[in-house]
Point group: D2
Chain length 357, copies 4
């Protein structure tokens, strides 16, 4: 039985490179040989034991690769094709999928909805930090990479860009909107780019790391607020003449950013939340206008499926957005433990790493 | 200067009937002689000092009456016409109004949005528990009562029915949805009726007062859960085969109902909140799926304006919904202090009272 | 090779009952033994040669039956289960499906959208007027019938009710809307029921056949206009005080009904078109307000997929709508040629027929 | 009674500069001294007698100016303030306005909707090609010009940019959409810019005038098709690999462009129509997929109101779009007859003219 290398979760604090069998290909699957993948903040939560996964699981959910083998029932693809798949794999046929809520894809019962059920790679099935990954429901998930695009150009599509853009989309940003984006990590930066792409005319980004603040401008922010220098709520209210913003995007997963986003929202505005929280949240009565502010709070996991991937790659191919600057460091798969160490500790201004088997 | 009787807020704990001058009519106003009005739970918050208003203000925001006098610039109406106006008065011309967010109507500046700015009657201007009320921006707010409808038939339109229905509308209920409505006071009962009207096929109402539970069935609930007999979250999950509801409507304004509504929500579902909260809210991490559940939480004040009123009165005229059973008690304006006492203390199964000057 | 009886298209004018092999079951398919099916107006178009299909094809697209055999990759069902499937079969994984446009489901390429590609039964694959039908992509399409519902109760779900309701849904009917429905055949009747279910408060149905006009009232119409007695445009404008309707639903597929629907539309209104047209349409300049009326014209094929079917059967199970009165005649599969004759010629007040193998 | 110069419609073929009294200011009005205005294609329709207006009416609906005098009931502005107003003046209080359909603003009755009722300037009341214009319902319509923007920078906001952008907005363009824009006059060019602003990733513009084709690229088109060199339908299908476009925008008002837009639409796509048509339209059966293509056809007049104007000026102020290149020629009001001659005959590559009193 042929073997491959894979980054495996052993126990909290330990993700190690080890060998595993190359998986068998079921009728609806595709085996993809990974050419580039990356590490996500969520993987760090797994590493730290803050998000539980099975021992022995291969981690990672952001694949760029080449089709090695197609399942017997898979049509419309050919082996050797360059593809990506979303971090979220939809079955296409669950009740959630048939309601366009692919991220909450559940089993095929009368009532199939499952919280985060679409997040399979590196969560409920083996992930992408490996030489090969098995993509389930390949026909719904595999998206061919347009000619001329490099691996690093599309590496953000499976998760970072899809999630970040969804922050703008779930906020239903309109032409002329004023938008605040709290936190400018990779997802926040993509939310900033997404807000720009949808026609927001005043985009205010909040962070404190100089390199991220600079990148925020590059991705489309009109103003960048350093929260160590000024209270971001005060500053955003000042920048908006006391009106507040139409849409506030939360991209970190903390009470402070969630609450800041709520406090800068105009009556009738939308708080679009992308962060992964790790404790209960508080909604302050005054910020919430006692529940009478016509506010919307919306959370979004990450849109997936091949059509989503096609669209995101078209954004890249059109030159509208370039996410290459987010890839600040590169590692071989053999160096993945070192990559985790650098990424988890945010050393050397790291934004995203590229991992190549 | 002619005088009229009015229910006036004196200080926390005291709303008294007193005399006031009949107001002058500005060019955009209409003076309406009240024929029937009512008391709202919000008025009780005012009475108890939980919601601050100016001393000397006339309370009440639910008018049914007759046009006594029209402002010099008001066109399209005639004196003697029977009308209602929404609890929320839109200016029609603020930035919020021009974004269809009439309840958050603000002043006419570049950035005019004001939290709850559309709630004027009995909040920022004199209200309707009086012999006369001055309706601002009359052309945007006065809605003629269709022939054949009695005062009591349309008495719920200005607030209770508009707010209650908005719970269903803000939940974007679709044909075939499963909906839970937490609390069956007058607004919750109208939310139940609204859910039915929009095509929900399974409606689960939660309360514990037998008369309200029975009324819930009459307004369209398929199941009624008595929260003193069973944990409503457990019971709703059981009734939905573990799937949860598409839309949960909160109609009380408490942590318990808010949290219950969140806990029964399927991934991807919407929590439509109508309650007026009086303390901070907590979002439990697990109920919120750590922010990854594609949830929407939406609050709605109360849609206003004459078109909204026209539509609600058409609902009544068509016989689709009958809110008359909600009026359980009747008082003269002279008895308003007694009416407050009964309503505030929920004596004798009171749901809503009709007050006639 | 076991055989089954099937209604087969031979040539324009001839659909005959003949024998065919029972089909093999592929990995994603399910073989369903038909217990009840019906004939659709579209089948009559096929019979008359107005809509071309392959010679030898089994006709029919409205299945109620029992799972006989499941494909090797199908999970979540069991043989012997009572099921329906929509007239439209989604793959779940095409680009169209992933955009929620299941009716235009196309092949699995980068750009897969195909006009009417989701309509497979009796169009591009063998249909349901037979003893057995092969359901493709079973996991996306098979919907278990809730206990207690008879075949005839759910017989309209696969097409008539799904299409008719979509007329109301594509019109985005709101609480308080005024709606006109042109033509009260089975689909128009379901559009009337759908408008009622979504909260329209004035529903005006147009037809001339007494039995259909009476059924229109039963399905929820407030007014019924006999177009042989009065010009329906004039009559609808009169009934709406000259304002016109918010939503006009076309349910026949003729210039006259399309144009009538456009002419009664208020500025800003929506024409929701369900009919299958057989010639070019004309948009009169005046009815279209020279293109300046903020009008929407929307066509809808028929929403499909198991989640749609689940919701429609829930409507039936909840008692909100009862489509049994639409089934006016019953035939054995052996009598299908006679059934076609009666249905195509609208003899004896036929609305829909039930066919049982 | 003080006089002013104004461009007056005398009879078909004759718009002349003449004198008129400066109008009186009603309580809700504002008198604006025009500093810059322009001529619209619609004005040419009026000139040619193709669109009827009253003899003696002042033409023009695109004002940039200074508040000269405010009505007695107007609050929130000051005399001397630089302002624009939309070509469409909303009352803010009609039923249409309260449904957000300001362009179809009608009188204040129970059922007030009026086709094109919001288009008042140069249609039902005196227009802007004059030294002064009276703006009705000033509080809903006057939008202060942000500091630092010149007249020519905001001159397209009242109509061209609002209408053009609405082509993209009514198409509900999403990130990653493919869009075709038929005709690249001023409105088509703004539709192209709007499509870009909303995140379309492939924009295909159609025209034949070299200057317009070049300008199309400048406004954001990725491909420009010269319809004299290639069949635009064939070419667009080729550019989209046979799939067609998600959204097709019609910006001319002819059968040819309307039909082309329909023919390039993918199933499920939206045709957003901006043109003013002057004859009946034909919908070819095949292009319409017999009414089974899940198509949407939507017409849009022109969004108005001060909030719309504020947003458009913010687009300009943010630098996202620059419409100055559309102003190709400049005239004094005294030269307006010459300006009409040049504009109506499209001499010298004219796109839009600036007229300064």
């Amino acid at each position: 039985m042929p073997k491959m290398k894979a980054a495996i979760f052993v126990e909290p604090g330990r993700i190690v490179l080890d060998e595993k069998p190359i998986p068998d290909v079921g009728p609806l699957d595709a085996l993809v040989r990974i050419t580039t993948t990356t590490i996500c903040g969520t993987d760090v939560h797994i590493l730290k034991g803050e998000y539980p996964v099975a021992h022995g699981l291969t981690i990672g959910h952001e694949p760029v690769g080449v089709i090695e083998k197609l399942g017997s029932a898979v049509q419309g693809y050919r082996e050797g094709q360059r593809v990506i798949a979303g971090a979220i794999c939809t079955s296409g046929h669950s009740h959630a999928a048939l309601c366009s809520c692919h991220a909450q894809d559940g089993p095929g019962t009368r009532h199939g909805w499952k919280g985060m059920g679409g997040w399979k790679f590196g969560n409920t099935i083996d992930g992408t930090q490996a030489e090969y990954v098995l993509v389930p429901d390949a026909m719904a998930n595999l998206a061919p990479v347009p000619e001329g695009l490099t691996d690093e150009q599309v590496l953000m599509c499976p998760d970072i860009m899809s999630t970040g853009f969804s922050g703008a989309e779930s906020g239903a940003i309109c032409i002329g909107d004023t938008v605040a984006v709290f936190a400018q990590g990779p997802i926040g930066l993509c939310a900033t780019a997404g807000a720009r792409l949808m026609g927001a005319t005043t985009i205010i980004a909040v962070d404190s790391v100089p390199a991220r603040m600079e990148m925020a401008r590059r991705m489309g922010a009109d103003h960048v607020v350093d929260f160590t220098q000024a209270n971001p709520v005060t500053e955003i209210m000042r920048l908006t003449d006391g009106r507040g913003v139409d849409v506030a995007i939360e991209a970190l997963g903390r009470q402070q950013t969630f609450e800041g986003a709520l406090r800068v929202l105009r009556p009738g505005g939308t708080l679009s939340s992308l962060g992964v929280y790790s404790s209960d949240l508080k909604i302050p009565l005054d910020a919430f206008l006692a529940g009478l502010g016509d506010h919307t709070i919306r959370t979004t996991l990450c849109p997936g499926g091949k059509e989503r991937m096609r669209r995101l790659m078209d954004v890249i191919a059109s030159g509208r957005v370039d996410t290459r600057p987010l890839v600040t460091h590169r590692f071989k798969l053999d160096q993945i433990e070192e990559a985790y160490d650098q990424f988890a500790n945010q050393r050397d201004g790291v934004l995203k790493v590229a991992i190549t088997p």
